[in-house]
Amino acid sequence: MQIEIEYFALLREEAGCASETIELQQPTPAAVYACLNERHAFSLPAARLRVAVNDRFTEWNTQLDDGDRVVFIPPVAGG
Protein backbone atom coordinates (compact mmCIF):
# COMPACT_ATOMS: atom_id res chain seq x y z
CA MET A 1 0.00 0.00 0.00
CA GLN A 2 1.05 3.57 -0.68
CA ILE A 3 1.32 5.84 2.35
CA GLU A 4 1.92 9.57 2.08
CA ILE A 5 4.03 11.23 4.76
CA GLU A 6 4.04 14.95 5.48
CA TYR A 7 6.85 16.42 7.56
CA PHE A 8 6.93 19.44 9.85
CA ALA A 9 9.55 21.30 11.86
CA LEU A 10 12.60 19.28 12.91
CA LEU A 11 11.48 16.15 11.07
CA ARG A 12 11.04 18.11 7.83
CA GLU A 13 14.58 19.40 8.14
CA GLU A 14 15.99 15.99 8.97
CA ALA A 15 14.07 14.28 6.15
CA GLY A 16 15.22 17.00 3.78
CA CYS A 17 11.73 17.20 2.25
CA ALA A 18 8.20 18.30 3.15
CA SER A 19 6.54 15.06 2.03
CA GLU A 20 7.22 11.67 0.50
CA THR A 21 5.44 8.43 -0.31
CA ILE A 22 6.42 4.95 0.78
CA GLU A 23 5.14 1.49 -0.11
CA LEU A 24 4.55 -0.98 2.74
CA GLN A 25 2.59 -4.21 3.32
CA GLN A 26 0.05 -4.01 6.23
CA PRO A 27 1.38 -0.68 7.35
CA THR A 28 0.92 0.91 10.78
CA PRO A 29 2.30 4.34 11.78
CA ALA A 30 4.88 2.51 13.91
CA ALA A 31 6.06 0.45 10.95
CA VAL A 32 6.14 3.53 8.71
CA TYR A 33 8.26 5.47 11.17
CA ALA A 34 10.66 2.56 11.68
CA CYS A 35 11.12 2.32 7.92
CA LEU A 36 11.63 6.07 7.44
CA ASN A 37 13.96 6.23 10.43
CA GLU A 38 16.29 3.78 8.66
CA ARG A 39 16.35 6.14 5.70
CA HIS A 40 16.70 9.48 7.50
CA ALA A 41 18.15 8.63 10.94
CA PHE A 42 15.80 11.02 12.74
CA SER A 43 17.07 12.44 16.02
CA LEU A 44 13.69 11.93 17.69
CA PRO A 45 12.68 8.43 18.84
CA ALA A 46 9.06 7.45 18.14
CA ALA A 47 8.39 7.61 21.90
CA ARG A 48 8.79 11.40 21.68
CA LEU A 49 6.31 11.79 18.84
CA ARG A 50 2.58 11.69 18.37
CA VAL A 51 1.07 10.59 15.10
CA ALA A 52 -1.85 11.80 12.99
CA VAL A 53 -3.56 10.03 10.10
CA ASN A 54 -5.66 12.10 7.70
CA ASP A 55 -5.44 15.09 10.07
CA ARG A 56 -6.58 13.27 13.21
CA PHE A 57 -4.50 12.05 16.14
CA THR A 58 -4.20 8.28 15.93
CA GLU A 59 -2.63 5.31 17.73
CA TRP A 60 0.72 3.94 16.57
CA ASN A 61 -0.67 0.48 15.88
CA THR A 62 -3.63 1.58 13.71
CA GLN A 63 -3.91 -0.32 10.42
CA LEU A 64 -3.39 2.16 7.59
CA ASP A 65 -5.29 2.21 4.30
CA ASP A 66 -3.94 2.83 0.85
CA GLY A 67 -3.46 6.55 0.29
CA ASP A 68 -3.57 7.52 3.99
CA ARG A 69 -1.65 10.67 4.88
CA VAL A 70 0.53 10.25 7.96
CA VAL A 71 2.13 13.05 10.00
CA PHE A 72 4.62 12.41 12.79
CA ILE A 73 4.34 15.16 15.38
CA PRO A 74 7.45 16.28 17.28
CA PRO A 75 6.98 17.89 20.72
CA VAL A 76 4.94 21.02 20.10
CA ALA A 77 5.94 24.52 21.14
CA GLY A 78 3.12 26.92 20.44
CA GLY A 79 2.49 30.07 22.42
Binding site: F8, R12, A52, P74, P75, V76, A77, G79
Partner: protein, 151 residues
Amino acid sequence: MFTLQSGPVDTVNARQQLIHPGCGGYCSFEGWVRDHHEGRSVDKLIYEAYAPLALREGQTVIDEAVQRFEIEAARCVHRTGELAVGELAVWVGVAAAHRDAAFAASRYIIDEIKTRVPIWKNEFYTDGTSAWVNCAACAATADDNQSRRAV
Protein backbone atom coordinates in the same frame (compact mmCIF):
# COMPACT_ATOMS: atom_id res chain seq x y z
CA MET B 1 -13.02 30.09 17.92
CA PHE B 2 -9.40 29.15 17.20
CA THR B 3 -7.60 30.60 14.20
CA LEU B 4 -4.12 30.66 12.69
CA GLN B 5 -2.83 33.84 11.14
CA SER B 6 0.29 34.60 9.11
CA GLY B 7 0.16 38.38 9.66
CA PRO B 8 -0.13 40.61 12.75
CA VAL B 9 -3.13 39.98 15.01
CA ASP B 10 -5.68 42.77 15.41
CA THR B 11 -6.26 42.31 19.14
CA VAL B 12 -8.66 45.24 19.30
CA ASN B 13 -10.99 43.57 16.84
CA ALA B 14 -10.48 40.12 18.40
CA ARG B 15 -11.49 41.51 21.81
CA GLN B 16 -14.49 43.29 20.28
CA GLN B 17 -15.92 39.93 19.17
CA LEU B 18 -16.23 38.85 22.80
CA ILE B 19 -18.13 41.83 24.19
CA HIS B 20 -21.50 40.79 25.56
CA PRO B 21 -23.84 42.70 27.91
CA GLY B 22 -24.12 39.73 30.28
CA CYS B 23 -20.36 39.66 30.85
CA GLY B 24 -18.70 41.40 33.78
CA GLY B 25 -15.24 39.86 33.48
CA TYR B 26 -12.84 39.65 30.57
CA CYS B 27 -9.42 38.04 30.78
CA SER B 28 -6.92 38.11 27.99
CA PHE B 29 -3.52 36.49 27.62
CA GLU B 30 -0.88 37.38 25.05
CA GLY B 31 2.34 35.53 24.35
CA TRP B 32 5.04 37.87 23.08
CA VAL B 33 8.38 36.96 21.49
CA ARG B 34 10.97 37.38 24.25
CA ASP B 35 14.51 38.57 23.58
CA HIS B 36 15.89 35.62 25.55
CA HIS B 37 15.17 31.94 26.17
CA GLU B 38 16.97 29.75 28.66
CA GLY B 39 19.88 32.17 28.85
CA ARG B 40 20.26 32.57 25.08
CA SER B 41 19.72 35.85 23.25
CA VAL B 42 16.88 35.54 20.73
CA ASP B 43 16.86 37.41 17.41
CA LYS B 44 13.60 36.21 15.82
CA LEU B 45 11.55 33.06 15.50
CA ILE B 46 9.47 31.14 13.01
CA TYR B 47 6.26 29.32 13.91
CA GLU B 48 5.30 26.39 11.74
CA ALA B 49 1.85 24.83 12.05
CA TYR B 50 0.32 21.59 10.82
CA ALA B 51 -2.69 23.66 9.94
CA PRO B 52 -5.61 21.23 9.50
CA LEU B 53 -4.90 19.41 12.76
CA ALA B 54 -3.85 22.58 14.62
CA LEU B 55 -7.19 24.21 13.76
CA ARG B 56 -9.13 21.14 14.82
CA GLU B 57 -7.23 20.65 18.08
CA GLY B 58 -7.26 24.37 18.89
CA GLN B 59 -11.04 24.44 18.43
CA THR B 60 -11.35 21.39 20.68
CA VAL B 61 -9.46 23.28 23.41
CA ILE B 62 -11.82 26.26 23.08
CA ASP B 63 -14.85 23.96 23.20
CA GLU B 64 -13.49 22.25 26.31
CA ALA B 65 -13.02 25.62 28.01
CA VAL B 66 -16.62 26.59 27.26
CA GLN B 67 -17.77 23.24 28.72
CA ARG B 68 -15.60 23.34 31.84
CA PHE B 69 -15.96 26.95 32.92
CA GLU B 70 -18.90 29.32 33.29
CA ILE B 71 -17.89 31.51 30.38
CA GLU B 72 -19.80 33.24 27.63
CA ALA B 73 -17.23 33.04 24.84
CA ALA B 74 -13.55 32.40 24.17
CA ARG B 75 -11.22 32.94 21.23
CA CYS B 76 -7.61 32.21 20.45
CA VAL B 77 -5.45 33.37 17.55
CA HIS B 78 -1.99 31.92 16.92
CA ARG B 79 0.60 33.39 14.58
CA THR B 80 2.53 31.42 11.99
CA GLY B 81 5.64 32.41 10.06
CA GLU B 82 8.45 34.76 11.04
CA LEU B 83 8.13 36.96 14.15
CA ALA B 84 10.50 39.59 15.52
CA VAL B 85 11.20 40.15 19.21
CA GLY B 86 8.23 41.92 20.81
CA GLU B 87 5.66 40.61 18.33
CA LEU B 88 2.50 38.92 19.50
CA ALA B 89 2.68 35.14 18.97
CA VAL B 90 -0.60 34.07 20.54
CA TRP B 91 -3.69 35.84 21.83
CA VAL B 92 -6.38 34.39 24.09
CA GLY B 93 -9.54 36.23 25.14
CA VAL B 94 -12.35 35.04 27.41
CA ALA B 95 -15.54 36.82 28.47
CA ALA B 96 -17.61 35.61 31.41
CA ALA B 97 -20.20 36.82 33.89
CA HIS B 98 -17.59 36.61 36.68
CA ARG B 99 -13.81 36.91 36.83
CA ASP B 100 -13.06 33.50 38.37
CA ALA B 101 -14.19 31.70 35.25
CA ALA B 102 -12.57 34.24 32.92
CA PHE B 103 -9.16 33.77 34.54
CA ALA B 104 -9.46 29.99 34.81
CA ALA B 105 -10.56 29.50 31.21
CA SER B 106 -7.86 31.81 29.85
CA ARG B 107 -5.23 29.88 31.72
CA TYR B 108 -6.67 26.56 30.61
CA ILE B 109 -6.70 27.58 26.96
CA ILE B 110 -3.11 28.84 26.80
CA ASP B 111 -1.80 25.82 28.75
CA GLU B 112 -3.56 23.34 26.50
CA ILE B 113 -2.70 25.19 23.29
CA LYS B 114 0.98 25.10 24.24
CA THR B 115 1.02 21.37 24.91
CA ARG B 116 -1.48 19.87 22.45
CA VAL B 117 -1.75 21.93 19.29
CA PRO B 118 0.73 21.00 16.52
CA ILE B 119 2.61 24.28 16.22
CA TRP B 120 6.39 24.44 16.40
CA LYS B 121 8.75 27.26 17.22
CA ASN B 122 12.12 27.61 15.54
CA GLU B 123 14.18 30.03 17.61
CA PHE B 124 16.97 31.98 15.93
CA TYR B 125 19.67 33.28 18.27
CA THR B 126 21.89 36.32 17.97
CA ASP B 127 24.93 34.00 17.76
CA GLY B 128 23.68 32.73 14.38
CA THR B 129 22.40 29.33 15.55
CA SER B 130 18.80 28.14 15.81
CA ALA B 131 16.80 25.40 17.50
CA TRP B 132 13.34 23.86 17.42
CA VAL B 133 12.10 24.54 20.95
CA ASN B 134 11.26 21.39 22.96
CA CYS B 135 12.68 19.17 20.23
CA ALA B 136 16.18 20.25 21.24
CA ALA B 137 15.86 18.71 24.69
CA CYS B 138 14.31 15.49 23.36
CA ALA B 139 16.76 15.06 20.55
CA ALA B 140 19.69 15.80 22.85
CA THR B 141 19.34 12.30 24.26
CA ALA B 142 19.99 10.93 20.77
CA ASP B 143 22.29 13.41 19.08
CA ASP B 144 22.94 16.93 20.29
CA ASN B 145 24.35 18.10 16.96
CA GLN B 146 21.11 17.49 15.10
CA SER B 147 19.10 19.88 17.22
CA ARG B 148 21.50 22.80 17.43
CA ARG B 149 22.71 23.23 13.95
CA ALA B 150 24.28 26.25 12.26
CA VAL B 151 21.81 28.36 10.27
